[in-house]
C-alpha cells in the first residue's frame, strides 16, 4: 500500500548513474508507475546535457497528488537513488538530498556503511548480483535500473510493486518485461534499511 500524501506535496527523486546504466529509463518508468498508482502530477526528465556512456548522469522523477507546474531541475530531493555506489566518491550526491531524505543504493554493503551525520534513512540492495544471477545482462552489461525500482518501492513505500510491474510491462517486450519484473521483485526482497523512512513533513 502506498503512503497517502497531502495535496500539494511533490516527491522529488534524483537518480545518479553512469551513461548507459539506464538511470533515465528508470526515472521514466517510475513516473509511469506513479501515474498508474494514482498520482495526478508526474514528470520525469534527464538532466539536460550531453550524456555519454560511463560518465556520471542524473535524472529526475517528480510525483504529486495534483498536477505539477514546475519543470526546473530538482535542487534537493526527498529520495536519491544511486545506481553505482562508486559515484559517492565522484559526485557530491548528499548535497542534493534533503536532510531527512532517503538514500537508496545499489550495493552489497549494509546500509550503515553510508550513514552520515545527516538524519537520512539509507537503503541498500545488491541489484548487481541479482541481475547477474537471473541473466539480466545485455551485451555484457548487467542491467540494474529496473531492479532498483523494487528497492525504491520497498524503502519509500510511495509506489506499489503492482504499479511498478505494470509500468515495466509497458516498456519492454513480454519476455524482457518478465525478467525485469523478476529483478525488481528480488531486489525488493533483498532491500536492507537502517531505519524505516517516513516523510517528515507531508504537508510541505
Amino acid at each position: 500500500m502506498s503512503t497517502v500524501l497531502k495535496e500539494e506535496k511533490i516527491i522529488n527523486v534524483t537518480w545518479h548513474g553512469r551513461g548507459g546504466q539506464g538511470g533515465v529509463t528508470a526515472a521514466m518508468i517510475l513516473a509511469e508507475a506513479a501515474y498508474i498508482d494514482g498520482y495526478k502530477g508526474v514528470t520525469a526528465a534527464p538532466f539536460f546535457g550531453v550524456e555519454r556512456r560511463g560518465a556520471p548522469i542524473t535524472a529526475t522523477t517528480r510525483f504529486s497528488r495534483t498536477p505539477i507546474r514546475t519543470l526546473t531541475p530538482t535542487a534537493k530531493a526527498e529520495v536519491v537513488v544511486v545506481l553505482d555506489e562508486r559515484l559517492m566518491q565522484a559526485v557530491d550526491i548528499l548535497r542534493g538530498l534533503k536532510p531527512d531524505g532517503l538514500l537508496i543504493l545499489n550495493s552489497s554493503s549494509p546500509p550503515e556503511k553510508f550513514c552520515t551525520d545527516m538524519d537520512i534513512a539509507v537503503a541498500t540492495s545488491d541489484a548487481n548480483s541479482i541481475a547477474e544471477e537471473i541473466g539480466l545482462v545485455v551485451a555484457g552489461t548487467v542491467l540494474i535500473n529496473t531492479s532498483l525500482l523494487g528497492a525504491f518501492s520497498r524503502a519509500s513505500g510511495l509506489v506499489s510493486m503492482e504499479s511498478l510491474e505494470k509500468a515495466i510491462s509497458k516498456n519492454f517486450n513480454p519476455k524482457a518485461a518478465q525478467l525485469n519484473i523478476r529483478g525488481a521483485r528480488l531486489t525488493y526482497e533483498a532491500t536492507r534499511i537502517n531505519r524505516v523512512w517516513q516523510l517528515s513533513s507531508p504537508g510541505v
Binding site: K40, T43, A45, I68, R69, T70, L71, P73
Partner: protein
C-alpha cells in the same frame, strides 16, 4: 503523435537537437505502416520546408519540425510558405541560436521569425503541444496561413508527463481530411506564384489578379481576423475533447490583480507558482501567459491588463539594442488603449539558464519595491 493523428500525408524534416526525436518517431510510424505518409529524407532544413511547400502546393497535408539554426536556415522559405498561403504546420522545439553554440532552450529562434507571416502558438506543457498540432491543421486549412507550434526545447521536449492521447475516430471527426483549394492537374498545367507587378493585371487566362501589395494586404487581413478563428476552433476542440482552448492568452489568479507577471510557454506555469508565493505575502498578483503570439492578441491583452498597475514581463528572447519582444508588443498594445501601467522587462532563461519560481517572485518584488528605478531590460541571474 499529433502529426500521426492528423493523418499527415507528407513529412520532411532534418534532425536537430532537441527536435530529433520527432522525425525519428514519425519515420518509425511510416515504416511500420501505422501512418500512411511519405517521409522524405532531405539534406537540410531549407530543403525540408521546400519539400513541404511543394507537397502542400499540390494538395497534401504536410508536417515538419525543427529548432534554432534549423529554423534560421528555413528563413527564406518561411516567407514563401506564408506568401503562397500554404496550411503547413510546424513543430518548433525552441532553442537558442549560436554563436556561441547552445543546444538549450530559449525563444530567440521563433521570435526572430516573427515577421514571416506565420502564426505562432506557444505551449505550456506536452498536452498543449499535441492539442495545438491538431487544432493547427484545422485553423491553417480554413485561412490558408501556416503555423508554428512552439514549445520549450528540453524543458518540454525531453520531459515525460501524462498526455491524454485522443482516439483516432474522435480526431477524424474534429479534423476531416484536407480538401485543398487548388490542385495541380496534369492535363491542365498552371503557373503558380509568378512575378507580381506593383499594379494589378490580368493573368495568362485573362483573370484579373491583385498586385503584389494586394496579395500582402490580404495576408495581413487574414491574420487580423485569425484570432477569432483560433478561438472558435479552440472552442470546438474543447467540446469534443474536453480541453478548452477558446482563448488567445491564459490567465491565472488575475481577478482583481494589480501586478501581472507576463510570459510565454512553460514559464507561464512556473510563474503561477511565483504568483501563489506573492499572494501568500499579500500581493495581488496574477499571471498572463500568451498562448498566441502571432496574430498578436492586442485587444484581449488590453482587456486583461485593464486593472494592472504594474506588469512584469519575462522574455526568453531579446531584440538586441532594445528589449524583449513580448515587452515591446505589450507596450504597443497598451498605448493604443491608453493604458499606462508601470512595465518592467526581464530577460531570462537564455541558452537553457534555469528559471525557478523564486527567481520570478524576487524579480517581481524588486519591481514592487523599486518602482520607477528600473530602466531598460534587466538580465535575471546572470553572473557574467
Amino acid at each position: 503523435m499529433g502529426a500521426k493523428l492528423s493523418r499527415v500525408q507528407v513529412i520532411a524534416a532534418y534532425p536537430i537537437t532537441p527536435q530529433s526525436k520527432i522525425p525519428e518517431t514519425l519515420v518509425k510510424y511510416v515504416d511500420s505502416g501505422e501512418l500512411e505518409a511519405e517521409f522524405i529524407r532531405v539534406e537540410s532544413e531549407h530543403s525540408a520546408l521546400t519539400v513541404c511547400i511543394s507537397a502542400s502546393t499540390v494538395g497534401a497535408r504536410v508536417f515538419t519540425a525543427t529548432a534554432a539554426n534549423g529554423l534560421a536556415y528555413m528563413h527564406e522559405q518561411l516567407h514563401w510558405a506564408a506568401g503562397a498561403r500554404l496550411p503547413i504546420v510546424m513543430a518548433l522545439a525552441n532553442r537558442g541560436l549560436g554563436a556561441p553554440w547552445t543546444i538549450f532552450n530559449d525563444m530567440q529562434d521563433s521570435i526572430s521569425q516573427r515577421d514571416t507571416g506565420w502564426m505562432q502558438v506557444y505551449c505550456r506543457d506536452n498536452q498543449e503541444i499535441l492539442d495545438s498540432i491538431l487544432m493547427g491543421y484545422k485553423i491553417c486549412e480554413q485561412i490558408h496561413v501556416p503555423m508554428m507550434v512552439c514549445f520549450d526545447g528540453f524543458v518540454l521536449s525531453h520531459t515525460v508527463m501524462p498526455v491524454e492521447i485522443p482516439e483516432q475516430k474522435q480526431v477524424d471527426r474534429f479534423l476531416p481530411s484536407y480538401v485543398p483549394h487548388l490542385q495541380v492537374d496534369g492535363p491542365e498545367p498552371i503557373n503558380i506564384n509568378p512575378v507580381m507587378l506593383a499594379e494589378p493585371r490580368d493573368n495568362a487566362r485573362g483573370v484579373a489578379c491583385p498586385s503584389y501589395m494586394g496579395f500582402r494586404m490580404r495576408l495581413q487581413e487574414t491574420l487580423e481576423s485569425a484570432g477569432e478563428v483560433i478561438r472558435r476552433v479552440g472552442g470546438e476542440f474543447g467540446e469534443i475533447f474536453g480541453r478548452d482552448y477558446e482563448c488567445l492568452l491564459w490567465e491565472y489568479r488575475t481577478e482583481k490583480a494589480d501586478t501581472i507577471l507576463l510570459t510565454m510557454g512553460s514559464l507561464a506555469n512556473e510563474a503561477s507558482l511565483a504568483v501563489d508565493m506573492l499572494r501568500e505575502k499579500g500581493y495581488k498578483a496574477g499571471v498572463i501567459g500568451l498562448r498566441v503570439f502571432r496574430p498578436f492578441p492586442a485587444e484581449k491583452l488590453r482587456q486583461a491588463l485593464a486593472g494592472a498597475k504594474q506588469v512584469v514581463i519575462f522574455d526568453k528572447n531579446i531584440s538586441y539594442g532594445y528589449e524583449g519582444a513580448t515587452c515591446t508588443e505589450t507596450k504597443a498594445a497598451l498605448f493604443e488603449g491608453g493604458l499606462h501601467p508601470y512595465i518592467a522587462n526581464y530577460i531570462v532563461g537564455l541558452g537553457g539558464k534555469n528559471v525557478v519560481a523564486s527567481d520570478l517572485e524576487a524579480a517581481t518584488l524588486e519591481v514592487l519595491e523599486n518602482k520607477g528605478r528600473v530602466n531598460g531590460p534587466k538580465w535575471l541571474g546572470v553572473a557574467v
